[in-house]
Symmetry: C2
Subunit: 403 residues, 2 copies
């Protein structure tokens, strides 16, 4: 059986960024930039005032309470029309352009307006450049301001707006089809009969796909029947990724690997040395990885762990992200924890920041088998526990994958 | 001037959870549960097998290689029809119901199928209960499985599906109107003329609102004209929250406070002892806080900081979230940092996890004035620096607000 690292390498080796597409900026939040972005402007576009006050020549401040003639008033969006000279100043507002001749702005609070267009400056001296932000301080025309691969957050939306990118070239968002398989499944708005359970994997995986920024196509429940599954798989292969849940173990109705083979999907690996999630199946519909196909175990916790370990990194790669959305962090164990078994385990846990300057702690969740979704809702990380039989004491360091 | 804590208390004192509404589960990702959720089922619904194998009576395992008659084959979704007796077993698949009489399941790998409906069990003994998950282990009918105030993540979507909540009662999502004010502003698809800049605040705030799970209504640019602004404010007061950007300082065209007063918005506070963001204005359109109105400073960094400190917690409260989405964390400074000034500062910084078992470090960003959006795109936290003139050494602890 291959290791988690080998399996992930296989998955990533078949995952390539999708094509790029032009989107309106207002719909591009969360997308990945597909090309570097350069500025078409200087920012600020002119020397500008950082305060409300008076623009003046600092060499003319001979002593306190000098009186000056007010040439004009300039607000943001206007350009000054007069040159500031030795006996004159310009009333200026925050963000407005500094008039010719002036080399500083004195704050309104240090002045006193007189009638007949004059003002008293109480300040006796001021360093040149005071309260002025020079043209191009923040960015210059031609500068690369954002690089391909960056995720567009609200701050990037602001910067892209500033440099005029109301349309942006982004990576296409991956399209992911989801099929939950199993004769025992009924939709969540049905009352289960004897032996039946409601389909929780389909909706959970659909939500996981959406929360990772991809587009989800929920194809519903596939009965354990070769023809029905083959039809759903064929439909799912229209997407960039197809996720099947269930049907990958050794049971008599675990038809998924055979159905995938029959529909032309080439197996890359089946089974990973991992707990939970051992039966994971992965393949591609063409050598170029046209559609990535994940056969996830049917148990909800196993499916969740496999999504976080393998599907999410693949979606990041398809979306062209340079930084993975999967965050690793070290925690101190909040309590003793005993591990048993020959497989490395990804154990659901709840972590929290500590109140003082201590490291964050993580508490492994009581875990009543891999079908226990209720306990799992307390989970916000997976602890990475090596194989073997051992007990870790409270306070020991453990690796975790933050959810 | 009031402190940040006082200002936040005023904001929260006027913020009340919105009404609840029923949504289809598939559209409720990220919403807040408005009522406790109880289970209408036991999970598992019957004692079930955790493996593929044979259900048997452990008392009948006398020694290795005992041969048994196979009564029937039960897959998930079917109910067994035969009772297991001393010389018989039932072939059973993962998830299927345990037949009457059986008290354990032996794994397929420890058996050998014989022809004529018999099987050899290689195992000589097995504890009762092995590989069986008891009915109701995960949840019992009537149990409260999720509490009001919880945010619906993918895991909660799974659990809600399991207990049949295809419709869920959630808090209404806040509706937030956004107006960017200023004569100097042009839309981001325009080429700025002399003295003009593109509107970056409107798109950035719209994206911030969306990323906090609320619905944004971008009302565009408001010129610095009393009637134009009054009309936009009146339109914005149809929403749960109105955010104005710019026009709240002491300039001659800073009309926002007057316009808000004229349109019946009651001021709660104006100005906060904070850098950047001092000119912040906050008010409500009725004593019951029907619409919360934030007048944010026009500088992008100031507006961003005020959004994170005051608007986001208000949106959390309106959305009924019990846990704030604003995460505080302690960092070690990555380098020396000098602070000057009488106002507490929220300094943009970049933090990262350390590679070893050391605490995460944060590096304050070079900050060329509060209009510098380009530097801000490297920001993923705000360091909380108390007022005063001092230098903190590399390695010292600082509080941060994770973005």
């Amino acid at each position: 059986m291959i290791s988690v690292d080998e399996a992930l390498r296989h998955v990533l080796d078949h995952s390539f960024p999708l094509a790029s597409t032009s989107l309106e900026l207002s719909t591009a939040l969360g997308c990945t930039l597909a090309a570097d972005v350069t500025s078409d402007i200087d920012s600020p576009p002119h020397d500008k005032s950082l305060v409300d006050g008076y623009a003046l020549r600092t060499s003319d401040l001979g002593g306190a309470n000098t009186q000056f003639k007010v040439l004009e008033e300039v607000t943001a969006g206007e350009m000054p029309s007069c040159k500031v000279t030795s006996d004159s100043v310009t009333r200026i507002m925050t963000g407005a352009a500094i008039p010719e001749g002036a080399d500083a702005v004195v704050m309104l609070e240090e002045t006193e307006a007189r009638d007949a267009g004059t003002v008293l400056i109480r300040r006796s001296a001021l360093p040149a450049g005071s309260n002025i932000m020079r043209r191009g301080t923040s960015l210059c025309r031609g500068d690369t301001v954002l690089q391909a691969g960056v995720t567009i957050r609200p701050l990037e939306v602001g910067l892209l707006s500033e440099v005029g990118r109301s349309q942006v070239l982004v990576q296409e968002v991956p399209r992911v089809a989801i099929v939950a398989t199993g004769n025992e499944l009924v939709p969540s708005d049905h009352r289960p009969e004897s032996g039946q359970i409601r389909n929780s994997n389909g909706p959970m995986l659909t939500a996981l796909v959406r929360s990772s920024g991809a587009r989800a196509v929920d194809l519903g429940i596939g009965r354990d029947d070769h023809d029905i599954l083959a039809q759903l798989v064929t439909e799912g292969l229209q997407s960039d990724v197809l996720i099947l849940s269930g049907g990958v173990s050794a049971g008599v109705l675990d038809l998924v690997p055979d159905v995938l083979k029959a529909t032309g999907v080439k197996q890359v690996f089946h089974k990973v040395n991992l707990k939970p999630g051992k039966p994971l199946w992965f393949g591609v519909s063409s050598p170029q990885g046209q559609t990535l196909v994940f056969g996830l175990p049917g148990n909800p916790v196993s499916g969740f762990v496999c999504f976080e370990l393998f599907v999410r990194p693949a979606l990041d790669r398809l979306a062209g992200r340079t930084a993975s959305t999967a965050v690793r962090r070290r925690f101190r164990l909040a309590c003793d924890h005993t591990h048993r078994g020959a497989r490395p385990t990804y154990h659901p846990a709840a972590w929290e920041e500590s109140v003082d300057d201590q490291p964050a702690t993580a508490k492994p969740l009581a875990w009543r088998g891999s079908a226990d979704l209720r306990s799992l809702t307390a989970c916000n990380c997976l602890l990475v526990l090596p194989s073997g039989d051992y007990t870790l004491g409270a306070g020991q360091w453990v690796d975790g994958l933050v959810i």
